[in-house]
Amino acid sequence: MIKEYLKMIVVLTLIAMVCGFLLSAVKTFTYEKIEEQILVNVKGPALTNVLSQSSNNPINDRMEVELEGVAYTVFIGKKDKKLYAVAFESEGSGFGGKIGIMIGIDIEKSVLSGIGILTHQETPGLGSRISETSFTDRFKGKPLTGNFKVKKDSGDIDAISGATNSSRGVCAAVDTGVGIYLKLKAEILKKFEEGSEDK
């Protein structure tokens, strides 16, 4: 009897262990490739949208900027070989989980050049409408000093009706993003100057 139970435990544990090792190996092996695919297929289209006026490929011209121990990947948008806008990722909590966005900031004019939704788990048909351009365009051209909250919370952004919490999530992500940008700005400009001197 005891032997039978022991066998069950041992066999199942062994199977689970082998499977676990196998999966972590596959995960490590495919990790970089998947990141690259996401960069090209998900972030790429979002980038061309938020940095629509750039004449370069922002995926190739990206750099790591560190702030308080956290590394941010900043995508550079150039117009006539001059830095005009940057884009990076930010996130906020929506209705169903984290909403990840790509936020583009026009450096010259200090306005948002656009945002794009990268990942979300909002309700299909309701909250998921935050990915539609009719909503993301509401952020385009807003000054960085703006109040990134939905109108219900006395902000500047019209929420999607029926999806106030999802809209709040996007606003929070934009607000965080703008905060990060204001702290990073000096560092980004410095790094960009250094980079262009090298060339």
Partner: protein
């Protein structure tokens, strides 16, 4: 009478053809067959999982205690599904985006657990491999058939290539969910015209 290895392989194309003869695995059959490409991707992913899970389960059949067999099968199947998911994300990203949630759902596809329980747990490794591959390819074939039909009628294309005459007005209905039921029903009706062996 024992079947030959070839017979074990070919029975997956008719005798135990999953969606049409056994009427198993209908969730992916109905949900993702809007484009021939999706049907093909789903079929290949399922075949991979079925083939390897059958082999592993057949080779472990004398070690796995009877009382925890289902749990063991699920762990093994889930492992292969996650491998497929990661590999698809890494090398076939656009199609893995389209299939989305339905890739992880292969774990609960009853064809796979069905073959494990009904076949691999009682037969040799080689037989189980032939069975897994045959049933998997039969499933792929069925998905490609139903999705090509829906794509053809719903969009006028097959694998993204326009094949209908110009001026063909696609039935948008066929690529919507009800179209899947109608299409599957028609195929099942046609297949049932063939008399079953006694």
């Amino acid at each position: 009478m024992k079947k030959s290895i070839a017979q074990e392989f070919f029975k997956g194309f008719w005798e135990v053809l999953p969606p049409f003869r056994l009427v198993l695995g209908l969730c992916p059959t109905l949900a993702i067959t809007t484009l021939a490409e999706n049907g093909m991707g789903m079929g290949i992913a399922t075949t991979f999982v079925l083939f390897f899970s059958n082999i592993i389960i057949a080779s472990l059949k004398n070690i796995i205690p009877k009382k925890v067999r289902i749990a063991s099968y699920i762990v093994i199947i889930a492992t292969f599904v996650v491998i497929v998911e990661l590999v698809m994300k890494a090398y076939f990203f656009p199609i893995s985006q389209k299939l989305g949630l339905f890739i992880p759902l292969i774990v609960v596809n009853c064809i796979i657990l069905g073959r494990a329980e009904a076949f691999a747990s009682k037969n040799s490794v080689i037989r189980s491999a032939a069975d897994g591959l045959g049933v998997g390819l039969g499933f792929t074939m069925s998905l490609v058939l139903i999705s090509s039909l829906r794509e053809l009628l719903g969009r006028g294309t097959v694998f993204g290539v326009g094949v209908m005459w110009s001026g063909f007005e696609p039935f948008g209905f066929m690529v919507e969910a009800p179209g899947a039921f109608v299409c599957l029903g028609m195929i099942l009706a046609l297949i049932n015209l063939v008399p079953k062996k006694a």
